[in-house]
């Protein structure tokens, strides 16, 4: 028995977040995978980290800036080069929900 029970609802929910559609077979597999992985990563709980600052960046660099100067010219052509579907110099997408 896994300590982490991944329910159908959880898989459904994560699918909505990640915008991934899994069929029933994939869902079952994903549940099993995730349960196993979560059980495995539980190993981290053996370590007491209550006083440890999380490390987001490996080096203490800070304040990396650019100056407020225009460096780019008309980028339309490059931007649209790979568009799967375009119209009127824009990317065509299914109608977005109104209201």
């Amino acid at each position: 028995m896994s300590a982490h029970k991944i329910t159908d609802e959880v898989i459904e929910y994560v699918g909505i977040l990640a915008k991934l559609d899994l069929n029933d077979e994939q869902k079952e597999k994903a549940k099993k995978d995730m349960e196993e992985m979560l059980e495995y990563v539980d190993k981290l709980n053996e370590l007491d980290t209550s006083d440890i600052e999380p490390m987001t960046h490996i080096f203490p660099i800070e304040n990396v800036f650019r100056e407020d100067e225009v460096t780019n010219s008309d980028g339309k052509e490059a931007t649209l080069l790979n568009a799967p579907e375009k119209k009127d110099d824009g990317f065509k997408v299914p109608k977005t929900i109104e209201g």
């Binding site: 909505i16 987001t56 407020d68 100067e69 225009v70 490059a78 009127d88 065509k92 997408v93």
Partner: protein, 477 residues
């Protein structure tokens, strides 16, 4: 019934900053422009592109934070807010959740003579999204990333407001402050200032807050007022029917004057924020804060004091004119040329405000030059035109930025100083209005006003009213 309840309101105000370039790339931020022309791999989320932070964005955010009495966070970071939407090319927005750049501020507002403090919870920096245009013909949407990556600050207030009037006063205050700082033009109609309103209601005396809803798509002060009224009513009705208010985001429809839930089963509203590994933290030492403070332009309160002192104008007038940075700038620039502060003030607070109201314009839309305005003031002052004509000329300056000297000459609007001609007209007026003359002579001194008016009319306004009065008085003796 509704007297038992009070409305609790907090605001999330988004302001587009007045930088030349976007927050993470060197693309222009100019409004308009053909679709997708102001774009590059960074602001369109091309695979492999990485963000580089525009320093000016940090400085504007700090300036607004300082002006709104915030604490500046010494060590601030960017986080990713993950959600899918086509106007958001990376499908995450780079924003700040855990360590926003400013916190714990406050501003003072005044409603109906009562002063009140509104707390500012935080100010954070983030990137704007692109624009979606609905194509009616094909029933699809078209994405334009020109606005994608334009820098924004989001100013989050505490839930300190209790009425639409307070909300408007708070927004006006923010707008005024930010405009004075030069950090944004804050135009609601162009979207450079946008407000999302969090509303809840509770029984008066109740300590806990009610469940709140968030109202979006509010593009004018009017829409904000109406949305607050509408949502307050909707929530009270629900509570009165013993039903629950659901915590949700609602979209205001200005035409229908009502709101609709934006919830859909495909939106979980779970943004999975985490620190952006592509952007190192921002460290703000005291010296940098001081430098931003030192470079801060003169804000309203200082300006007001200076106007009273340097230009000898009344508290009331100074306060009206400094209400808007645009008016204050116009005043100072014009006065610098003509050195007649009082006349300039009178014109601005009189004719200019009247015209703005009449044409439903914002003072940021003023487009005439202080030079032409100053010239007109000089012409009035030296008696070349009288005040009636000056209003007409000002209207022309306001509309078309005409050179008043040229315009007056071309339209022959100078005050007539030929006494012979004036006397001739006055005699005609006297003989054409015997009744008024009789009244005057019988002691009704006021009757002379009518005769002056008739003379001015006959002169097409180009006479000096003082002089007309003087000659009339002599002739009626």
């Amino acid at each position: 019934m509704s007297r038992e309840y009070e409305t609790v309101i907090g605001l999330e105000v988004h302001v587009e900053l007045a930088t030349k370039t976007k927050i993470f790339c060197g693309c222009k931020t100019d409004f308009g422009g053909a679709p997708n022309t102001h774009t590059c791999p960074i602001c369109t989320g091309m695979p492999g592109a990485l963000p580089i932070l525009n320093k000016k964005v940090v400085e504007y955010a700090m300036a607004v934070g300082i002006a709104t009495n915030c604490e500046i966070t010494k060590y601030s970071k960017f986080d990713r807010k993950n959600y899918f939407y086509p106007d958001n090319p990376q499908n995450y927005q780079i924003s700040q959740l855990y360590l926003p750049i400013c916190r714990n501020g406050k501003v003072e507002i005044e409603v109906g003579g009562v002063k009140k403090e509104i707390g500012i919870h935080e100010i954070h920096m983030e990137e704007d999204a692109g624009k979606l245009v609905h194509d009616e013909w094909e029933d699809v949407s078209i994405v334009d990333y020109n606005r994608s990556g334009v820098p924004l600050i989001e100013i989050v207030s505490e839930p300190d407001m209790r009425s639409a009037d307070e909300v408007i006063a708070y927004l006006e205050k923010l707008r005024q402050t930010i405009q004075y700082l030069g950090a944004s033009d804050c135009k609601l109609n162009e979207g450079s200032m946008r407000a999302d309103v969090n509303i809840s209601v509770r029984k008066i005396g109740q300590k806990e807050f009610g469940t709140r809803t968030e109202m979006k798509n509010l593009n004018s002060f009017k829409a904000i007022s109406h949305a607050i009224e509408g949502e307050t009513e909707r929530q009270i009705e629900l509570l009165e029917m013993n039903r629950e208010v659901i915590q949700e985001t609602r979209r205001w429809d200005d035409n229908k004057e009502s709101s609709k839930s934006m919830r859909s089963k495909e939106d979980a509203k779970d943004y999975r924020y985490f620190p952006d590994p592509d952007l190192p933290p921002i460290c703000i030492p005291d010296e940098w804060i001081q430098k931003v403070k030192d470079n801060q332009p003169e804000l309203r309160e200082e300006k007001l004091e200076r106007y009273k002192k340097d230009y000898d104008i009344s508290e009331y007038d100074a306060s009206l004119i400094t209400e808007s940075k645009h008016l204050a700038d116009l005043f100072e620039e014009t006065t610098a040329i003509c050195n007649k502060p009082k006349r300039v003030v009178n014109f601005i607070l009189g004719e200019l405000l009247r015209l703005l109201k009449e044409k439903e314009m914002d003072d940021s839309d003023i487009s005439f030059s202080p030079e032409n305005f100053a010239k007109l003031i000089e012409l009035v002052d030296s008696g070349v035109v009288n005040s009636t004509v000056s209003k007409q000329v000002f209207g022309e300056i306001f509309e078309n930025n005409v050179d008043p000297e040229v315009y007056i000459k071309e339209n022959n609007l100078m005050v007539v100083n030929d006494d012979g001609e004036l006397e001739k007209v006055i005699e005609e007026v006297i003989s054409a209005n015997p009744k008024s003359v009789e009244d005057y002579k019988a002691g009704k001194k006021k009757a002379i006003g009518f005769l002056v008016g008739q003379t001015m009319k006959a002169m097409q306004g180009k006479a000096n009213p003082g002089k007309v009065n003087q000659i009339l008085t002599e002739k009626l003796q």
